[in-house]
C-alpha cells in the first residue's frame, strides 16, 4: 500500500467514524446474500427486499449490516440515520442485459425495476428503506471518483450546519474490484468481485468514534489532484481503515480529491483497538 506525504492545509473539517465494515463477494456469492444479507443475527429485511436490486446494493447492504452488528445493542437503532451511497457504475449488468433484449423483444422487455433499483440513488434508497432510516438518503458519484465524492459529501452534510437533521450518515462506497467484461447477452464473464465499504460518519464530537475523517484544503494547489481509476482507491481506503482501527502501525491515510483537497483518515488517539476483525468476507 503506497503512502503519501501530507499537505499543509487550511483549518480542517472533521467528522468521526462510529462503525465500519468492508465486504467482498464474488458474483456467484451474491445470490444467497439477496435472501439473507448481513452477518448471523442481523435483523431480517422485508421478504424478497433485495430481489431486484443490483449487485452493489446487495453487497452494500451486507456491509452496513456488518457494521451495525459491530455496535453495542443500544447503538443499533437507525431511525435518525441518513445514507450517502457512492457507487461506481452500479446497475451495469442489468442495463446490459436489458439493452441486449431491447431490439429482439421490444420495450415490453424493459423491467419496471431498472430505474428505481439500478440508478445512482438505488443503494442509498435501499439501505434507507430496509433499515427504516429517516435522515436524508442520496447517491453520489457513479464513476471512478466516487469514493472522494462520497467522503466529501458525507462530511459536508454531517458537519454542524451541513443541513442533515440526523445523528449521522452511513457512507456506503461500492464498486467491482475489476470492472467486469460482459458478453453479448449482458452476462458477466468470469466471477468478478463486488465490494462495499460502510462507514458510519458522525459529527466530530461523537465519543464512540474510533476513527476521524478530515478534509484538508491545501494552501498551495496540489500538483496533480487525484481522481481517475489508476489506483485502487476503495480497496486501499478500506484496508487503511481496518489497519488504523486495528491498532497497527498505520495511523492515517489520505484520499486525494479530483479538486484541490484531500480527505484524511486518522485513528483517534484515545481509541483502543477492538478484539474482533473488522474486515469480513462474504
Amino acid at each position: 500500500m503506497p503512502t503519501r506525504p501530507t499537505t499543509t492545509s487550511s483549518p480542517p473539517v472533521a467528522c468521526g467514524i462510529g462503525a465500519h465494515a468492508f465486504v467482498e463477494a464474488r458474483l456467484t456469492q451474491i445470490g444467497p446474500l439477496r435472501d439473507r444479507p448481513g452477518p448471523e443475527g442481523s435483523p431480517p429485511l422485508p421478504p424478497r427486499f433485495l430481489r431486484h436490486c443490483d449487485e452493489q446494493t446487495v453487497v452494500g447492504m451486507h456491509a452496513v449490516l456488518a457494521a451495525i452488528a459491530s455496535l453495542p445493542a443500544e447503538r443499533r437503532v437507525c431511525e435518525r440515520h441518513g445514507v450517502v451511497a457512492a457507487s461506481c457504475q452500479a446497475g451495469r449488468i442489468v442495463t446490459a442485459s436489458s439493452l441486449a433484449k431491447l431490439r429482439p423483444q421490444g420495450a415490453v422487455s424493459i423491467s419496471p425495476h431498472i430505474v428505481p433499483q439500478c440508478s445512482l440513488h438505488s443503494v442509498a434508497g435501499a439501505v434507507s428503506v430496509a433499515l427504516g432510516m429517516h435522515g436524508p438518503n442520496v447517491g453520489i458519484g457513479g464513476g471512478p471518483d466516487a469514493v472522494a465524492e462520497g467522503l466529501f459529501t458525507a462530511i459536508s452534510l454531517v458537519r454542524p450546519g451541513g443541513g442533515a437533521d440526523a445523528d449521522g450518515v452511513w457512507l456506503v462506497a461500492s464498486d467491482w474490484a475489476e470492472e467486469p467484461a460482459l458478453d453479448e447477452t449482458g452476462a458477466a464473464i468470469g466471477d468478478p468481485v463486488c465490494r462495499a465499504l460502510a462507514l458510519f460518519v458522525q459529527p466530530a464530537a461523537a465519543e464512540a468514534a474510533s476513527l476521524e475523517l478530515t478534509i484538508h484544503f491545501p494552501t498551495e494547489p496540489l500538483a496533480s489532484p487525484g481522481g481517475g481509476e489508476a489506483s485502487d482507491v476503495l480497496g486501499d481506503f478500506a484496508r487503511a481503515a481496518a489497519m488504523c482501527a486495528g491498532g497497527g502501525p498505520l495511523a492515517s491515510w489520505a484520499v486525494e480529491c479530483p479538486w484541490p483537497a484531500e480527505i484524511r483518515l486518522t485513528r483517534r488517539a484515545a481509541w483502543a483497538a477492538p478484539s474482533r476483525p473488522l474486515r469480513e468476507a462474504a
Binding site: 440513488h121 428503506v129 429517516h134 454542524p160 450546519g161
Partner: protein, 412 residues
C-alpha cells in the same frame, strides 16, 4: 443531533440562472409560459421502441449553444457532444454568464450536478447509436468532472442522485459548501433526458399517463381523473453565492435560497408512504431552516406529478406541515405544463418559484378540472393568480423515499 438552522447563517443567494426546458430556455420566456398556462406536452415519434402507436412527452425542442465566452465551444463542436452533455453544459454555461461570474484561476467555484441515471442513459444512448460501451470493462470519468474541466472550474465537483429530487439535493450540497466556506460560488442544479428505456421503464411501472388521445390534457396533477405523469426533459442550474460575496462584486440576487429540508420515508423504494409524517418533516424543517412560519408561505410549488398515490400523499404532507395555515396558501403543480423533468424537476420547479417571486403571481395547475377531494388544498386551476409572493416553497420527492423541500425568499 439537531442541525443548526440556516436562518442563523449568512444568506445564500441565487445570482444566475441557466435553463433548458420544454417551455423554453430563457428565464423570461419560461416565466411567461408558466404564468400563461402554456403546455409543453405534445405527441412525439414513438420510434422503434414505443409501447403505443401515439406516444407523448414534454421534449426540449432546441438546446441553446453556450455563450462563446463560457466553455469555448463553437456551435459545431457543441452539437458534436452527446445530448445529455449538451443538456447540462448549456444551462450551466448560461447560468455562469447570467451571473457574470468570473472563472479566473484563483476562483474556487464548485459544481453540483443532480443527475440520477447518468450511467444508464449514457450506456443506452451509446447502444442505440450502435455502440458497445455497456459491455466493455471500462470506467470513464463522469459528466460533472468533464463539465468542470471544460469550464475551468477548480472547486469541488460531485454528482448527486435522489431520483426525482436530485437537483434539489444538489442545491442542499452546494449550500453546505458555501456555508462551510469551501467555495466562493457554486453552480448547482440538474437535468435529464428522455430516452426509450426511460419511457419504457416508467410505462411498464404504470407510472405514466396513458391519455394519448389528447397529450396536452394528460398531465393533470391533483385532478380526480389523473392517471400518471408525463415524461419531460431538461432542467436548470443556479449560481449560488454568499450574499456578501455577491454584493461585493456587484451581482444582483434574484432570490435567497433561504431554507432546505431533507428526510426519507424509510418505507418503500417506489411508492410514497401513506404516512405523511416524514415528507411533512422535510417541509417543516425547510421552513424552520429559513426562519419562516407556515403562515408566511405565499406559494407552494408541489411535486405533484399526477400519479394517483403520490398526489394524495403530498397533499397530506402539506396539510400536516402547514397546519391551520394550509387553506390560505395557494398550491400548484407546474408539471401540468412542463411534464416531469425527473432529475431536473426540482431545479425547474425552483425556477417556477423564482417566477412567482419576481412576477408576484402564482402559476396555475393546468387540467385541474375536478380537484380530487383527497387532495384538499388551495389549488390554482387553469389560470395564474396574482398574489404578493415573498416566500415560496417547492417540494420534491423521489424513489427510495427521498423527500426534499426548498424555501426561496424574495431578494431584499
Amino acid at each position: 443531533m439537531t442541525a443548526p438552522l440556516h436562518k442563523d447563517c449568512e444568506p445564500v443567494v441565487i445570482t444566475g440562472v441557466g435553463l433548458v426546458s420544454p417551455l423554453g430556455s430563457t428565464f423570461a420566456g419560461i416565466a411567461d409560459a408558466l404564468l400563461a398556462g402554456v403546455s409543453g406536452v405534445k405527441a412525439i415519434d414513438p420510434g422503434e421502441f414505443g409501447r403505443e402507436a401515439r406516444q407523448f412527452a414534454a421534449p426540449v425542442i432546441e438546446i441553446p449553444v453556450p455563450p462563446a465566452a463560457v466553455g469555448g465551444l463553437d456551435e459545431r463542436e457543441f452539437r458534436g457532444l452527446g445530448r445529455l452533455e449538451q443538456m447540462c453544459l448549456s444551462p450551466v454555461a448560461h447560468a455562469i454568464a447570467d451571473a457574470r461570474l468570473s472563472l479566473g484561476p484563483g476562483a474556487r467555484i464548485g459544481l453540483v450536478l443532480g443527475l440520477g441515471a447518468e450511467a444508464l442513459k449514457t450506456w443506452e444512448l451509446d447502444f442505440l447509436a450502435g455502440g458497445t460501451r455497456v459491455f466493455e470493462p471500462r470506467r470513464d470519468r463522469t459528466l460533472v468532472h468533464r463539465l468542470a474541466d471544460r469550464l475551468g472550474l477548480r472547486g469541488p465537483a460531485v454528482t448527486v442522485a435522489a431520483a426525482c429530487a436530485s437537483s434539489g439535493y444538489a442545491f442542499a450540497v452546494a449550500r453546505s459548501w458555501l456555508d462551510a466556506g469551501w467555495v466562493d460560488a457554486c453552480i448547482a442544479g440538474g437535468c435529464d433526458v428522455i430516452s426509450p428505456v426511460g419511457i419504457a421503464a416508467f410505462y411498464n411501472l404504470r407510472a405514466l399517463s396513458r391519455r394519448g388521445d389528447d397529450p396536452a390534457k394528460a398531465s393533470r396533477p391533483f385532478d380526480r381523473d389523473r392517471d400518471g405523469f408525463v415524461m419531460g426533459e431538461g432542467g436548470g442550474f443556479f449560481v449560488l453565492e454568499r450574499a456578501s460575496d455577491a454584493a461585493a462584486r456587484g451581482a444582483t440576487p434574484r432570490a435567497e435560497l433561504a431554507g432546505i429540508g431533507m428526510s426519507s420515508d424509510g418505507a418503500h423504494m417506489v411508492i410514497p408512504s401513506t404516512d405523511p409524517t416524514h415528507a411533512a418533516r422535510a417541509i417543516s424543517q425547510a421552513l424552520s431552516d429559513a426562519g419562516v412560519a407556515a403562515a408566511d408561505v405565499d406559494y407552494v410549488n408541489a411535486h405533484a406529478a399526477g400519479t394517483p398515490v403520490g398526489d394524495v400523499a403530498e397533499a397530506g404532507a402539506i396539510r400536516l406541515a402547514l397546519g391551520d395555515a394550509t387553506d390560505g396558501v395557494p398550491v400548484s403543480s407546474t408539471k401540468s405544463m412542463s411534464g416531469h423533468l425527473v432529475s431536473g424537476a426540482a431545479a425547474f420547479e425552483a425556477v417556477a418559484c423564482l417566477a412567482a417571486l419576481e412576477r408576484q403571481a402564482v402559476p396555475p395547475t393546468l387540467n385541474l378540472d375536478s380537484p380530487d377531494p383527497q387532495c384538499p388544498l388551495d389549488h390554482v386551476p387553469h389560470v395564474a393568480r396574482a398574489r404578493r409572493v415573498r416566500v415560496a416553497a417547492s417540494n420534491s420527492f423521489g424513489f427510495g423515499g427521498s423527500n426534499l423541500c426548498l424555501v426561496l425568499r424574495r431578494a431584499a
